[in-house]
Amino acid sequence: MKQYIIIIGLVIIFGAIAGFAESSDNFTITVTCNYIDFELKTADNSAEYTDWPVGNVNEGETVEMTTGAGGDHIYVENTSNVNLEFKAYSNSVAPGPCGYGTPVAWSPGGAAGLNTYYLRLGKGELGAVPGTYTDITGEDLGGAILYYSTIAGESYHLYTKLTAPNPADDGCSHTITVYIVAIAP
């Protein structure tokens, strides 16, 4: 009988120990990574925007992207889930010989000068150019903020204003590559 009592007692103790020896609870971590994604599209949002063919201009002449759905400005399609700073920089290399002077590489500047172009970018509307532009003088990442999106995923219309070098050493076709950078501040 004693043995039974001892065994029953051990079973109860074991059960109690087993019951208190393992306990669990949980909590959930909810995390969303900053998703930064945007595309440069044509003004009517129908195709990828790849280049702005300005063509021939005079030395020191200023050209600006045009308004409207058929204009040549850029629609920045923003599918990010976070507020963003949009910055820009540009650079250009010397083109190959073309028969019109000796090709020289252009560089960005705060005003048009010898082989120096003056580039500005700004947020406008579909039917209106920007009221103000931001000077884009950098040749690599960094520099001035051209637009700060305070609404996640806010798309907008981007305009470029370019003043050609004055003077320019050559009459060759130059390519200026403009990089739009979106950064989560």
Binding site: L40, T50, W52, N58, S80, L162, G171, I180
Partner: protein, 203 residues
């Protein structure tokens, strides 16, 4: 207590399972952080601007290829019209990369070699008159003497001698000088004619 110790020993006898899971968990966390750094911090999209500056360059050459300096006219009478001959034409070598308009001006240069107190500058008009001359340029695509009617009177710079000359296309310029009908005789005059080119798109 013995049972409790036994339980922990059993647990600790599975070092591979526990540390393996922990390692996997840490690795996954690091990977997530790296992925968020790689995809979450910035994005770059480029576009290109294609632009060409109007390149305006020309040379005025004699037909033989040397630099054109002067058209000499000797011993003419009042009211005569002097015309460039085939070999006297100006070869305009067009090095422009853009469609251009060709303009010209002409004026009587006041330091002529024989200028004295009687020397009077000639006005330039469409035809000759008293101390007034007329001057015309014709711009031709081929080297052949054009008719007088091809000549454009040069008395205002606002009228192009020729508009919309294609990029890089040479021209041959022929001039006519319509001499004054009256004035001081025996004085040498040196007329300066400037040739100007401007991008046609500017007009």
């Amino acid at each position: 207590m013995q049972l409790k110790s036994l339980y922990f020993r059993l647990a600790s006898k599975d070092p591979v399972g526990i540390s393996g899971a922990r390692t996997a968990l840490i690795s996954a966390s690091v990977l997530l952080v790296l992925l968020s750094v790689a995809f979450g911090q910035d994005a770059i999209e480029p576009f290109a601007i294609q632009v060409t500056v109007n390149y305006l360059d020309m040379e005025l050459q004699e037909i033989g290829g040397s630099t054109y300096l002067a058209w000499h006219i000797y011993g003419v009478n009042p009211g005569d019209t002097a015309a460039m001959e085939l070999g006297e034409a100006v070869h305009l070598v067009n090095n422009c990369n853009v469609l251009v308009d060709l303009f010209s001006t002409v004026r009587d240069f006041p330091d002529s070699g024989t200028a004295d107190t009687l020397w009077m500058p000639w006005e330039v008009w469409t035809i000759g008159g008293v101390d007034t001359c007329g001057f015309r340029w014709a711009s031709e695509a081929i080297h052949a003497v054009p008719p007088f009617s091809n000549g454009v009177p040069i008395y205002t710079a606002s009228t192009p001698v020729e508009a919309d000359i294609p990029a890089g296309e040479d021209r041959y310029l022929f001039a006519w000088l319509l001499l004054p009908t009256d004035g001081e005789y025996g004085e040498q005059h040196r007329l300066i004619s400037e040739i100007l080119i401007t991008p046609a798109i500017a007009h």
